[in-house]
């Protein structure tokens, strides 16, 4: 049964051998944000211009006069990613520049919090850009402070273990979808097939396109740098970070079948959740379950049938039903 264009794609996506991220960038070992950029640029190629507000990536790119990317990049103020990308697009059109995609690249603080006014407005105007939020779920560059992307129960430097984050993560994709933008999707650094397919799909659409890209941060999540991929896989497999896409703000397609891994497995991998009691972990499980029901319901309304996962999105090995995460 065809359950939607997303569900039909069960094959491999081409992952370019080209590298657009030079070695010598200054990300931490195992940095999800660096990997995110590397994978996204493999999908876009070099016909892209990056607008970068304050973020870990401000540092990762290297200090003047070095530049770690093989594409142009404009640094801008923290809250201005979407506004500056709007201006960049307008300016390129005004001067008659050769075809290029404008890509705003911001962290969760720059997107969920301080840049929220600008992103909402650019989305409402349907400005022609791809906006990628690489989400490491806190202000990592300043030393792990809470953002509105920080999940319920997490430790950060401003939500200490004695009083951890007590609000659920902001539903940024839902909010942006409500702007009726042509394309919004979630993906992670541990699902390169899914990521490349979604970037490619975004490239084929005009208007405001949003990618919510989970990018674990080893020091911020308190996971070993060798476990970044495993953490992101478990985030998906447990349903904490479901993979889905929304067209025109209306049609939702889940890119995975129902989560099978207990959330506790995802939580126990990370030091930022080490203080949680069993009751608190169970509360997170119940929130994840409820969210899955909502998404599945939306998928059913869109497609008239249950989601068929992209197996590679779950385990990277193309075996349907195999949701065992690989470290």
């Amino acid at each position: 049964m065809n359950t939607g264009w997303g569900g039909m794609n069960t094959g491999w996506s081409e992952l370019s051998r080209e590298e657009y991220l030079h070695p010598g960038h200054v990300a931490c070992q195992g940095c999800g944000a660096a990997l995110a950029m590397r994978l996204v640029l493999k999908a876009t190629g070099d016909r892209v211009m990056v607008v970068l507000p304050a973020a870990c990536w401000t540092i990762i790119d290297g200090s003047f006069p070095t530049h770690a990317l093989r594409v142009p990049l404009l640094h801008t103020a923290f809250e201005t990613a979407a506004a500056a990308a709007t201006g960049l697009r307008a300016g390129l059109d005004a001067v008659g520049a050769p075809p290029t995609t404008v890509m705003a690249w911001a962290g969760d603080g720059g997107t969920f919090d301080i840049g929220f006014q600008a992103i909402s407005s650019a989305a409402e105007r349907d400005e022609d850009m791809i906006y990628v939020c690489y989400d490491n779920e806190a202000y990592m560059n300043t030393g792990i402070q809470r953002s509105s992307a920080t999940p319920w129960g997490a430790w950060t430097a401003t939500t200490p273990a004695a009083r951890p984050q007590d609000r659920p993560k902001k539903d940024i994709v839902g909010i942006l979808a409500a702007h009726r933008i042509p394309y919004a999707a979630t993906t992670t650094v541990a699902h390169p097939d899914d990521l490349v397919r979604k970037v490619t799909r975004a490239l084929g659409v005009r208007g405001f396109r949003f990618l919510h890209l989970l990018a674990p941060c080893p020091p911020g999540w308190k996971v070993d740098s060798s476990l970044v991929i495993k953490a992101a896989r478990l985030a998906v497999a447990s349903g904490v970070f479901p993979l889905y896409e929304v067209e025109d703000g209306v049609r939702l397609t889940l890119n995975m079948s129902a989560p099978t891994v207990p959330v506790a497995e995802y939580l126990s991998l990370q030091g930022r959740f080490a203080h949680l009691t069993e009751e608190q972990a169970a509360h997170i499980q119940s929130m994840v379950d409820a969210r899955w029901v909502d998404l599945e319901d939306w998928h059913l309304r869109t497609h008239g049938g249950p989601p068929i996962g992209i197996p590679s999105a779950l385990d990277g090995h193309g075996r349907p039903g195999d949701v065992v995460p690989h470290g």
Partner: protein, 405 residues
């Protein structure tokens, strides 16, 4: 057949800004409404919609985003414009530093308006002068003709020195007051102001980064170069003003001096107040008083040299500030004193703060200030003018007296 070189039209200051922007063939406009500036962006939106101006017009959601959009558009080489006032300018503050630091020749009209609270929509220069350390050049127009001319000049100067320019016009006094303005034929403006070819720009396919981290071993040199550009800008403003005079018959400089021959008392003013001061001083001159007028047209780069030269021979100066730096004095007053400090012979300098929040400054105020300053041989830093009574004599409600004591 005759070619129309100019057309005389009756325009408000806001309309004059829009005509200037249209003549400058601006390519990208990002705009947000605020009183008393709104008519500028309304008029520009119309011009773009009707195809009179081939620009991208972005209706952004705030002044901060307006300047962020202008910043990025200018970074790829587009000629860029926005307009604002007061609160909007204050909101932009971060991006003013950003655009000047990035050395982008953006031009902005700022319709001077007081800052809240209490709410006020009327003329006051504190909005613009609060931004004087951002690296933007600042021009203050006296008339609507000068408003239009200053927009054209601003692009000519900015694109040579790679610094942004803020063209200031007094809220309502200019922005909403109509007067005859000569609007030049487009082909004449094109000769004066050709298309902008940005020497540095971000281009698709060229992997450069603009604005990245500069460590302590490098940052200072960026600011040194910005300051050198400002220093150069003073001369460029004079050069372009002279070139403008050849092209259009009207010259502009940093400082406009009038009736200065044999002047013992000099009034220094900014913006539309100069028109009132000119009329009042002309009357005093007819009465045999030796009074002169200096209008500071450019506040950044500050015309130190021109002010020193102009004030040689003066006995006393009254600086009229439609602004206030709380805890200090009027801002022009403080800067004039700093310009004169190195002079071997200095006039006495008195500072008058007046006209804040649109309080009317009348010819009799000017005459009163001349009489007042002539009684103050040593100079006085902060004289509140036009409050009706010195602050110490403003009645305080009985229930507040104890708290204030």
């Amino acid at each position: 057949m005759t070619i129309a070189w100019t057309e005389s039209r009756v325009l408000t200051g806001n309309e004059a800004v829009a005509e200037g922007v249209c003549l400058a063939r601006v390519q990208t406009i990002a705009a947000y409404p605020i009183t008393p500036q709104t008519q500028i962006v309304e008029r520009l939106a119309e011009m773009v919609a009707r195809g009179e101006l081939a620009a991208r017009f972005v209706n952004v959601e705030s002044e901060h985003s307006a300047m962020a959009a202008c910043f990025a558009a200018a970074a790829v080489g587009a000629r860029t414009f926005t307009a604002t006032s007061s609160q909007g300018l204050a909101l932009m503050h971060e991006m003013l530093h950003w655009t000047a630091g990035a050395r982008l020749p953006i031009v902005m009209a700022n319709v001077n308006r007081a800052l809240a609270p209490p709410w006020s929509v009327w003329a006051d220069h504190t909005d613009a002068l609060s931004q004087r350390d951002t690296g933007w050049m600042q021009v203050y127009a006296e008339s609507n003709q000068e408003v239009l001319d200053s927009i054209l000049l601003a692009y000519a100067v900015s694109e040579r020195v790679l610094l942004p320019t803020m063209v200031n016009l007094d809220g309502f006094l200019l922005s909403h007051t109509a007067e005859p303005v000569e609007v030049y034929a487009g082909h004449r403006v094109d000769l004066f102001l050709p298309d902008f070819e940005a020497p540095y720009r971000l281009r698709p396919g060229e992997p450069r980064a603009f604005g990245g981290l500069a460590d302590p071993g490098r940052y200072l040199e960026f600011r040194l170069r910005l300051q050198q550009a400002m220093a150069r800008a003073a001369g460029v403003i004079e050069e372009e003003g002279a070139r403008f005079a050849v092209a259009f018959g009207r010259g502009y400089g940093l400082l406009h001096a009038e009736m200065m021959e044999d002047a013992e008392t000099v009034l220094m003013v900014v913006g539309s107040m100069a028109t009132t001061a000119r009329a009042a001083i002309a009357q005093l001159r007819r009465e045999g008083r030796r009074v002169g007028l200096l209008r500071v047209r450019v506040m950044r780069p500050f015309p130190f040299g021109a002010i020193r030269r102009a004030l040689r021979g003066a006995r006393r100066v009254a600086v009229l500030d439609r602004n206030l730096s709380p805890g200090h004095h009027g801002i022009l007053h403080a800067e004039v004193k700093s310009a004169l400090f190195s002079e071997p012979a200095r006039p006495s300098v008195s500072g008058y703060v007046l006209g804040l929040g649109g309080r009317d400054v009348r010819p009799e105020d000017i005459a009163g200030i001349v009489a007042d300053v002539e009684r103050r041989e040593g100079g006085e830093d902060l004289i509140w003018w036009g409050t009706g009574a010195p602050p110490s004599e403003i009645p305080v409600p009985a229930e507040r007296r104890e708290a204030l004591a």
